[in-house]
């Protein structure tokens, strides 16, 4: 006996709603996205590799993925602290801080871009102090990392927060009664439990940062080989009507991103398996 495609239900409208869903999905998402692969197939393998391995493309990939990793790391640490403080402590203005965590998602990226640039130029509110230390704020990989950290923060905080809230108090009490101090409880009990959520949040932040465009292009400076991110290189190729080149760079970006996502999923699967054993 074959299992039926859909389980029986007295509710109507299954074929209609699923049909419309698939139709609209195909029209808006699947057909346009399939263009990427259609266009790549018109490219020879050598042509594809030539674009991907071009020093300027490699420099852009390195910059995009490098700054995305650093910003995700910064958010892993500070996002955890922000989530911890919001869940565990009380302080004035906590509700406002909690609501403002989503600000980077609500603020249009172009606005974030020009505001951060203005702050980190050598004469800006923050940039002038960095300047004293000889650090170039805007128009450097440092500036790109700042913008990506801004964009990624909500992803990390919002994935850790619910897990911290649901944490069973008895686990920590048990650790304490067995003689663990707070630091030991944190590193050996709490962190392993929230690690999958932390990893998920960091992965989301990373994925967003790799493709990010609006908040970065103003602060980046956009010097080829130095501060040119991969999405900007796609834009440049498009402006030169080099559709094939733009597509090749996009496919390269997507391939590396999917590889990263697969790795994160694997680690998550492994840690949850280890936790199950313990």
């Amino acid at each position: 006996m074959h299992e039926p495609f859909v389980k029986k239900s007295i509710l109507p409208g299954f074929s209609l709603s699923l049909g419309f869903t698939i139709f609209y999905l195909s029209l808006i998402v699947l057909i346009p996205l399939s263009m990427l692969f259609l266009k790549t197939s018109s490219l020879s393998f050598k042509g594809f590799i030539d674009v991907i391995m071009d020093p300027r493309t490699l420099a852009a990939y390195r910059l995009s993925f490098g700054t995305a990793f650093v910003s995700a790391g910064i958010n892993a640490v500070f996002g955890f602290i922000v989530a911890w403080v919001l869940v565990r402590y009380t302080f004035p203005g906590k509700r406002i801080v909690d609501a403002l965590v989503d600000f980077p998602l609500a603020l249009p990226t172009a606005v974030a871009g020009i505001a951060l640039t203005e702050l980190y130029t050598p004469t800006g509110w923050v940039g002038q102090y960095l300047n004293v230390w000889g650090i170039k704020g805007a128009f450097s990989p440092f500036g790109i990392t700042i913008a990506l950290t801004f964009i990624g923060l909500p992803f990390v905080v919002r994935t850790i927060q619910p897990v911290l809230e649901d944490l069973d108090p008895q686990i920590e009490e048990a650790a304490a009664s067995l003689g663990a101090n707070r630091w030991q409880t944190l590193t050996t009990v709490i962190l392993p439990i929230i690690f999958p959520a932390l990893l998920a949040g960091v992965t989301l932040a990373l994925a967003r940062a790799i493709g990010e465009y609006g908040s970065v292009i103003f602060i980046a400076g956009n010097m080829p080989m130095k501060t040119e991110i991969a999405p900007l290189l796609i834009m440049t190729k498009l402006e030169q009507y080099d559709y094939a080149g733009a597509t090749a760079i996009a496919i390269g970006m997507l391939l590396i991103s999917f590889l990263l996502l697969a790795m994160a999923n694997f680690f998550q699967w492994k840690t949850s398996k280890n936790l199950g054993k313990a």
Binding site: K7, S9, I10, L11, P12, L18, F20, T21, I22, I28, V29, P32, L33, M35, L36, L38, F78, I81, V82, W84, L86, R88, Y89, F91, V97, A99, F103, P104, A106, L107, P108, T109, A110, V111, I114, L116, E118, L119, V126, T149, F150, L153, E173, A176, S177, R182, G211, E212, Y213, G214, F218, P231, I234, M235, Y241, Y243, A246, T247, A250, L254
Partner: protein, 272 residues
């Protein structure tokens, strides 16, 4: 001191670090927008906002959102009905496909529509022969906006509809209500806060989208410029005050979005 708290001094230290990080990354940029927008006083501020191109850009942004949000709302409600109320094969795969636009770079989102409708694109020659403009015109701006905001409403509604189960609808049907009546009088009221929440988030993204729109719009002033693109043009022309004035409208939209979002969350928690 209980087993679940740290010494006060460590609490204060962690709160200080969290707030300092928060102030530097979230509050300072926000203050910076309004400070720069009002740098030359309220008079100049309102004057730059009444500029012809600025008004055209605002109109363009509103029209785009007015088309994109309702379409994605209809999709979100229909898709969540199919996905939350029925069990069928390949459901998880369908969910992954629906989420795709969120994991694609905005620039790539723009790129795929150029590949489809651009002069050298798949449908380009046909469109040129029939004198239809999509790329570097309003239709492309609206299409990419629909693409980037595609999953937002559906993602909000599917978990809500799922958590409510099918009992109420099944009861209504057993008592003789028609499918449509059940949908409108039972299902829709149950997800009304989710719908509002989805509209708020979808609208914020639709009005604020920059990268994808930037690729396909061609930056034609007064014609295809949305407000975020207008901000970019002014800033690149070193018209800082005007750029930040336009940006402040978008920042206000973001603040309004967060407030509306918080109100809905409170309403849901209180079970209204």
């Amino acid at each position: 001191m209980s087993a679940r708290t740290e010494p006060k001094i460590i609490q204060y230290f962690l709160i200080f670090i969290a707030l300092a990080f928060f102030g530097l990354f979230i509050v300072l940029p926000l203050v910076c927008v309004f400070h720069n927008a009002l740098a030359k006083g309220w008079g100049i501020y309102f004057k730059t906002l009444q500029d012809r191109d600025a008004i055209a850009a605002m109109k363009m942004t509103v029209v785009t959102a007015l088309i994109a949000v309702p379409l994605n709302l209809i999709f979100g409600v229909v898709a969540s009905w199919a996905i939350a109320k029925f069990d069928f094969k390949g459901k998880n795969f369908l969910l992954t496909l629906i989420d795709l636009p969120l994991s694609v770079s905005p620039v790539i989102a723009g790129l795929i529509f150029i590949l489809l409708f651009g002069a050298q694109g798949l449908l380009g020659p046909w469109l040129i022969a029939h004198n239809i403009r999509i790329i570097f015109a309003m239709p492309a701006v609206i299409l990419v906006t629909i693409f980037v905001t595609f999953p937002i409403v559906a993602r909000e509604l599917i978990p809500i509809m799922k958590s409510q189960g099918n009992e109420e609808e099944e009861a209504a049907m057993t008592l003789g209500a028609s499918g449509w009546k059940t949908f409108w009088l039972v299902s829709v009221p149950n997800i009304r806060w989710g719908i509002l929440y989805g509209i708020i988030l979808c609208n914020a993204r639709a009005m604020g989208e920059f990268g994808a729109v930037s690729v396909v719009s061609g930056h034609i002033r007064g014609l295809t410029n949305t407000l975020p693109l207008h901000v970019e043009i002014l800033y690149n022309e070193y018209q800082s005050t005007a750029a930040f004035a336009a940006a402040s409208i978008l920042a206000l939209l973001a603040i309004f979005t967060l407030i509306a979002k918080s109100i809905v969350e409170v309403a849901v928690r209180r079970g209204i």
